[in-house]
């Protein structure tokens, strides 16, 4: 046995080690907390999250923003009449479409479709892709070969928009939920790949070995150790994809394969305004602007989150 009797001065040294003044002053700070502190100071985050908040409120309570009906038109309001840009918030503010419906009212009421599709597709792909990526990455071997080597790559090989069009073609009535499912059906591969990559790295970490050495169950290792640490890149990709899914919905609606009248959506409006592009640009201009701002807001948010979560920044 090596010198087992020597403990007294050591205890003292350790006692002193406990109280470095700098450490005493600080509070418990989780990595998520640190990321949040970074985010709050990022102007991109502030701008994008205010925009997104406004969009969410519009989607939830369109009635707060306009009393005009988005569906009943009155041909008294001719679409060639110039928008009355000074009358902010009124039915005639952004002019009327060919059927005499208020462009502004349709813009407000169309928000809901975009937001619902964006959020529900993102949730679906995060769950599907996240699970597939996590299982493939953690278990490896033939499970990985099947899930990521075969299934993910096959789905990845299908062009996203073209594939969605084909899927949607087989439906006669297409609600926001049908469109969401179609997009999610083909859109989960990126998340799965990101998740698998993150899990492959994290499962090598010593804290995972430590948990195994303690006898932790597979589900504990997956959900307590691997998942919380693999979430950061997934959240970033999911946020950015949210904007992408919104624009995909608009594209499909524009092509007549997504939502269609009488459903209200920016894509439907852009499609409806395209015939008048030479005479009344406002019909498609405003939905396009709205769409762009929304997509941009989510991409900006994703970038801000990426910067805050990037461990290299700390």
């Amino acid at each position: 046995m090596p010198d087992m009797t020597k403990t007294a001065p050591e205890a003292e040294a350790i006692e002193d080690a406990l109280a470095p003044p700098a450490v005493k002053a600080e509070k418990a700070r989780s990595l998520w907390g640190d990321a949040w502190a970074d985010l709050r100071r990022n102007p991109y985050f502030v701008v994008s999250s205010v925009l997104i908040l406004v969009l969410l409120v519009i989607a939830a309570f369109p009635g707060w923003f306009t009393s005009a009906s988005p569906t009943t038109g009155d041909l008294v309001h001719h679409y060639l009449g110039k928008p009355e840009l000074s009358k902010v918030g009124s039915a005639e503010w952004l002019g009327y479409d060919v059927q005499g419906r208020s462009v502004y009212a349709r813009l407000i009421h169309g928000t809901r479709a975009s937001i619902i599709v964006g959020i529900s597709v993102t949730l679906l792909v995060t769950v599907i892709g996240g699970l597939i990526g996590m299982i493939a990455g953690y278990f490896g071997g033939w499970i990985d070969a099947l899930l990521s080597g075969f299934i993910t790559n096959v789905f990845f090989g299908i062009p996203f928009l073209l594939g969605s069009m084909v899927v949607l073609q087989s439906f006669t009535s297409r609600s926001v939920w049908v469109v969401s499912l179609a997009l999610a059906f083909l859109g989960w591969t990126q998340i799965a790949r990101v998740m698998r990559g993150a899990v492959l790295t994290i499962k090598q970490a010593d804290y995972v070995h430590a948990a195994k050495a303690l006898g932790a169950s597979t589900s504990r290792i997956l959900f307590r150790h691997i998942l919380p640490n693999a979430m950061a890149p997934v959240i970033v990709v999911a946020t950015i994809s949210l904007g992408v899914f919104i624009s995909a919905e608009a594209t499909l609606s524009y092509l007549g394969l997504g939502l269609s009248s009488p459903a209200i959506s920016w894509g439907v409006d852009i499609s409806g305004g395209i015939a008048q592009i030479r005479t009344a640009q406002h019909i498609m201009l405003y939905p396009s602007i709205m769409l762009s701002i929304t997509v941009l807001a989510f991409i900006m948010l994703g970038e801000a989150v990426r910067n805050a979560l990037d461990p290299k920044m700390r």
Binding site: D3, P9, E10, A13, D16, A17, P20, A22
Partner: protein, 352 residues
């Protein structure tokens, strides 16, 4: 090693020839980093100098500022967040901090070269080592591809890579860790610099390989009569090759001495504690002396002597007055050449 064997042919000193002082002199250098949590004072007034043919070992733990000082000398500090609020770095009598970016670039690589700890990440994985070595000659000396390759093989021979001609087209990952570090040394040597800064050059290597690489470095230094700054945390490595040592703590030099003396008679409690805290291969020790406490937080360097919260000899004065680097003398007052200690109680530390 401090005295150069004069029977060998010493290469004529290169450079302007007019400058008489030390090859490199750092004066009152300060470096700070602006972070989210405040200003981290990484270097707080460092002074040191290196002559041609001399090896200065800069010894310190993480956060002591030893690597940051080297990065400031090389001009490779990330600025921002880094900032040099004060100080001068003279290379052959010229303050490099006042040079234009273009002038600095000319010094870097040609006059001062650096060797890093991690050779694998310092080499480009998609280019052959011959290409990377040859690049130095093509870019800086305008040699043709063929000549550059010939010089690369010569250099690889010089750093004792076996079968250099056959391996010149291999990629970095095809070499072992020790061989990669030799390639790094070859790259640093390529333009025959006056000064090499080696930042933990052998820390990542196995002990048997470590000895080979250190020997090579010392041999080449003698041959080219270069100045060498060896940055390390390993008291053992230093003992082998250095002429003089500067011990850093919290961004300051706390002790400076010729290499033999510091091990025999340390004049700063930190150095003394360090020497006592490492187990010895040749002795089965009893309990290790442990320096209590933690290395300092650079955002909140203790007032007075930065070492005072961990020091066994600390008194009131230590937390109020910053000790200057006192010259160290024998008990009878004869000065010990080249020695200095930044401790209010250096006399007690060395003599009693």
């Amino acid at each position: 090693m401090s005295i150069i064997d004069t029977t060998k042919t010493i290469p004529a000193p290169r450079g302007d020839g007019e400058h008489q002082g030390p090859l490199l002199e750092v004066r009152d250098l300060h470096v700070e980093f602006h972070t989210r949590d405040g200003v981290a004072k990484a270097v707080n007034g460092v002074n040191y100098s290196v002559n041609a043919g001399e090896t200065l070992a800069v010894l310190g733990e993480s956060g002591s500022g030893k690597s940051v000082t080297a990065q400031a000398i090389m001009g490779i500090l990330d600025m921002p967040p880094g900032k040099i609020p004060q100080g001068e770095i003279f290379f052959r009598g010229e303050d490099m901090l006042k040079m234009s970016a273009e002038e600095r670039r000319k010094v870097r690589g040609r006059k001062i070269a650096m060797i890093f700890q991690d050779a694998l990440s310092s080499l480009n994985p998609v280019l052959s080592v011959g290409y990377q070595l040859g690049e130095m000659f093509r870019v800086h000396q305008g040699l043709s591809k063929k000549d550059a390759k010939a010089r690369s093989i010569e250099l690889m021979d010089k750093v004792k890579i076996p079968a250099a001609a056959a391996r010149v087209n291999d990629y970095p990952h095809q070499f072992s860790g020790g061989m990669r570090q030799r390639i790094m040394i070859a790259m640093a040597l390529a333009l025959e610099p006056d000064l090499i800064i080696a930042d933990e050059p052998t820390t990542a290597l196995d002990v048997t390989v470590q000895a080979q690489v250190m020997d090579l470095l010392a041999e080449l230094q003698r041959e080219y009569n270069m100045g060498l700054i060896l940055i390390t945390h390993d008291l053992g490595v230093v003992a082998d090759v250095a002429d003089k040592i500067a011990v850093m703590y919290a961004g300051r030099i706390v002790e400076q001495a010729p290499v033999h003396e510091i091990y025999k008679r340390p004049a700063h409690p930190y150095t003394k504690g360090l020497l006592a805290s490492i187990p010895r291969l040749d002795q089965k020790g009893q309990e290790l002396f442990a320096i209590k406490g933690l290395p300092p937080n650079l955002l909140k360097v203790p007032t007075g002597c930065a070492f005072n919260p961990r020091c066994t000899m600390a008194q009131d004065i230590c937390s109020t007055d910053v000790p200057v680097l006192h010259p160290v003398a024998e008990q009878d007052g004869t000065e010990l050449v080249g020695r200095g200690s930044a401790c209010h109680f250096w006399k007690e530390t060395i003599h009693g």
